[in-house]
Every structure is written in structure tokens, then in C-alpha cells.
Amino acid sequence: MASRPPSSLLPLVLDDVSFAARGRTILDRVNLTLERGVRTVVLGPNGAGKSVLLRVMHGLISPTSGSVRWSAREAPGAPRRQAMVFQRPVMFRRSVMGNLRFALEVAGVPRAERGGRAEAALDRVGLSGIAHQPARVLSGGEQQRLALARAWMLAPEVLFLDEPTANLDPGSARAIEAIVQAIHDAGTKIVMVTHNLGQARRLADEILFLHGGRLCERSAAADFFHRPATAEAAAYLEGELPWRLTAAA
């Protein structure tokens, strides 16, 4: 991306970020700094605030208190330098190409370049053959790959992923993981929420462990899985991985 502004978005600093809705605290004074390069995976039990944390970082919701500070400002109205892929992919009632072209248009890409960029993006996620099919009738796995193509195509500095494989069969999930790995290899910072510990082991460089809206633990992935530092994390790992107990027995 020759046109990218010189200063990087990262690191991202969250300063005492809290979020409450209908009197319920969902994020409780989260402080953290996200650096580029490492793949960050957010873990935690249901209701820990993982998805909300992602949305606060991405700017979809504003924190009730505290601040979210990027190292470079994204000017309002300018093309975004970060992207997000949701658990349930949101596709518009257009063709696969139409969906990609729309994203490129919003990003301010000149019309003449859109076709080529969209085709290249489809090629990278292995969807070239279905460019002209309606996007809504694709399978869940195909739609999620398309969502990744759409995000990747815009060459974001940061990509947020909110349980991208939660609704997919193992084969599709593996395909998604491979694409996420490729996006990382191409230089994009990955921040992903998942429930799948196997996936976290395969993809994570570092783990953010949320519990009850608080950032409970942050460690390198290898440390987290072998020597969780907090009792909450240890309990979570035990609960999520019953096979570990049986294997140990």
C-alpha cells in the first residue's frame, strides 16, 4: 500500500476502559497496550466481555469511561485502516464480486482498480470460481471466507475477528485459520476472540484472558496454556478441556 500514511495506528492503548449497559458492567477498567506483529487471542468464559472489548477497540461502541487511543488518528470519512470479521458474516444481496466492489468503493478505491483488487482477493481465499454467484446463498464457510477476503482486500493494519469459526464445521474452520495465518504473514495485526482452545493454541502468540469484564491475565500463549497465572484461567482451561483431565488420568 503505497498510499498508506507514514505513521502507524499501533500501538493501541486502552486506558481504564469500562463499559456498562442497562446498569450491568460488561467491561471493568481494562488497561492494555496492543503492539504490532504479535497475534493476540482473547479468551474467556461466556459473558466475560470479549466481543464488547473487540467492538470498543474497533470503534463500534464507545466506552462508558476511559479512553481508546490509537497512535495515529483515523480521520473521519477517510478510508479505515482497520477491519473486523464477525461471527455471523454480513453479506449484502449482491454477487460475491458486488460485495467486494462495494467495500472498495466505500474505501475510496478508484472504480478502475476495483475489479482487479476484488479478483485478487477472491483468489487468495480460493473463491475465484464463484465470483458471480449471489453472496447470500453461499455456505457459511464460503461466506466467512468472503468476509475475510473483504477485510484483507483493504490491507488493514489491524484485523479484529470475533469468533469467526464458531458456526462452522471443522474443515471450514481450518480453511479460515489458514487465511488468518496468511493475513498475519502479510503484516496485519490479528486480534481474535475464540472459544476454540485448539484454535487459540494454533494461532495465538499472546493470550488476553477476560473474566467478569476484567483483564484477568495476559501472557505469552505457551505460558498461558502450560502455567496459567490465575486461578480463573486455570479453572477455565480445565472446564474447556475435559480431555486433558481424562488424558492425565
Binding site: R94, G98, F102, E105, R111
Partner: protein, 277 residues
């Protein structure tokens, strides 16, 4: 998406413009608006005489059919070039107030008192419209009034006054004001089996008669004269003076008068030309 959006907007705009452009807007080279009464329009008179005029002069005549009161109001607002109505008192006031000029007598027809064949007020046989209305009021027999400030409405109130009866006493009971044109009022009377004052032209052309028939006719006072006048261009400069005058001149000419006299419904002449050339 820009393509999509532009295509969407473009399509809608193109459709709107194409549709608007295809409308016969100001396409006719010469035309006038004549505010007239439902009696002349619905009796079919205009359909009979106007093609002759248009053929001769190339002027299209657009007739807006209303009650006389409304027609005069349309003229007063400047929304018509010519007014063609039947309420001498209101017409004279219209001219006196400076809204109309050059009023000419055109023709007359007459009013008839319509009533149910059962004739509950026992008015059939008399030729005296005032006596008949007095009996209807005394019998409190159902009576439908236009109630719309039309020429017919004004005439009806005049006849009630001659009869020394005040129909408004019976308002809501036997005296029903419909606030509608001649045809709708006749429909109402037909379904209620009520008495009603109507102009002969509309009555002859009216099809949904039910049990109704003429009960009183022939009284000299039922004479119903029509007048035509140009809307005053001093008040409304856009009035088409030459075309409007051409219409007025034609309708009082021998040719126009003959056209009026030749219009018949069921063999019966509806209007009697009486322009005093």
C-alpha cells in the same frame, strides 16, 4: 455500488421525467378553461356542442364542472377564463364586483320537482311549485337538497321562500342537505324515495331513477336561465381574452344557438337557446 446507486437513482429519475414529459401538458396550442355547472356537463350538452366549436376555431375547451357557487369562485380566483353558470343573482353580483365582464344570456332550461311515485305529500297534479313545497314542508315528507350553493340550490331556497316555508326547520329530519352535485343528490333521493328539485337536463340523462318521477313541472317560475361571461382580465391578466371571447361570441351566435337547440335526450330538447342577438 456507485454503479448500483447511480443506476437506481437514474432509473427512477428517467422514469419520472419520461412520464412527466409524455403528459399532454401545455401541448395544445390554444385552449381555455370554462368553469361551468354539473347540469351542463352531466346532461351531455358540452359533449354535443364543443367539438363543433373546437373544429371551427382550433380552441380546446376544458370544462371544469362544479356547482354554480364553486364555478364562480374558481373564476374569482382566476383559475378559469370563462364562467358559464345559472344563478342570475349571483352572476350579477360577480359582474358588479368586477370579477366578470360581458355577461350574455345563452339559454335556459327548467327545473322540475322530482318525487316518489307514491307521492306522500300529495303534490302531483299542481303546477304551482311554491304550493307544492309548502305541502312537502307541512307533511314533513323527505326532501333532498343539494346544499352546495349551486344554482339549483339557490333556486330551491328561493322557491321555499315563496312558499313561506323554512326548510332549515326540518334540517336533519325531513330536509336533508347532501352538499353534493346534482347527480349524487339524485342518487340520494332515489335511495331515500325523497322529493328533490332538479334541472331537467340532468334528470333526463339520469339513469338510476328507481321509484322517482316528475311531480311538478311547467311553472313559469321554474325557468332556469344560463349566462356566460369572461373572467375580468383586469383582475387576472393571464385570462385568455381572445380565445375566451371567441367562445362566448360563438355560443351566442346562430351556429352556437342552433347547436344548443339541437341537443336532445330521448327525443326531448333539454336547453332552449335564448341569446338575444
Amino acid at each position: 455500488m456507485a454503479t448500483h446507486r447511480r443506476r437506481l437513482i437514474g432509473t427512477v429519475f428517467a422514469a419520472a421525467l419520461a412520464a412527466l414529459a409524455s403528459l399532454p401538458a401545455a401541448a395544445q396550442p390554444k385552449s381555455i378553461v370554462v368553469a361551468s355547472t354539473t347540469s351542463t356537463e352531466q346532461s351531455g350538452l358540452f359533449g354535443h356542442i364543443l367539438p363543433t366549436f373546437t373544429k371551427k376555431t382550433g380552441i380546446q375547451v376544458k370544462v371544469v364542472a362544479l356547482g354554480t357557487g364553486q364555478a364562480l369562485d374558481v373564476g374569482r380566483r382566476g383559475d378559469a377564463d370563462v364562467v358559464f353558470v345559472h344563478d342570475r343573482v349571483a352572476e350579477d353580483k360577480f359582474v358588479a364586483d368586477g370579477w366578470g365582464i360581458g355577461r350574455r344570456d345563452v339559454m335556459y332550461n327548467d327545473f322540475v320537482l322530482i318525487g316518489p311515485k307514491a307521492d306522500p305529500a300529495k303534490v302531483a297534479g299542481t303546477k304551482d311549485v311554491a304550493a307544492a313545497l309548502k305541502r312537502i314542508a307541512e307533511a314533513k315528507a323527505p326532501f333532498v337538497s343539494r346544499g352546495d350553493k349551486s344554482g339549483t340550490h339557490a333556486a330551491e331556497l328561493r322557491y321555499f321562500k315563496l312558499a313561506g316555508a323554512d326548510p332549515l326547520q326540518g334540517k336533519g329530519s325531513w330536509y336533508r342537505e347532501t352538499g353534493s352535485g346534482m347527480g349524487p343528490a339524485l342518487n340520494t333521493a332515489s335511495s331515500m324515495n325523497a322529493y328533490i328539485l332538479a334541472d331537467r337536463g340532468t334528470w333526463l340523462a339520469f339513469k338510476n331513477r328507481g321509484e322517482l318521477g316528475i311531480v311538478v313541472e311547467g311553472d313559469k317560475r321554474l325557468f332556469n336561465p344560463y349566462g356566460v361571461m369572461l373572467v375580468n382580465p383586469a383582475r387576472h391578466p393571464h385570462v385568455k381574452v381572445s380565445e375566451g371571447s371567441a367562445f362566448i361570441e360563438w355560443i351566442v351566435s346562430k351556429e352556437g344557438q342552433d347547436a344548443i337547440a339541437s341537443y336532445k335526450v330521448g327525443g326531448e330538447q333539454l336547453f332552449f337557446a335564448d341569446a338575444h342577438n
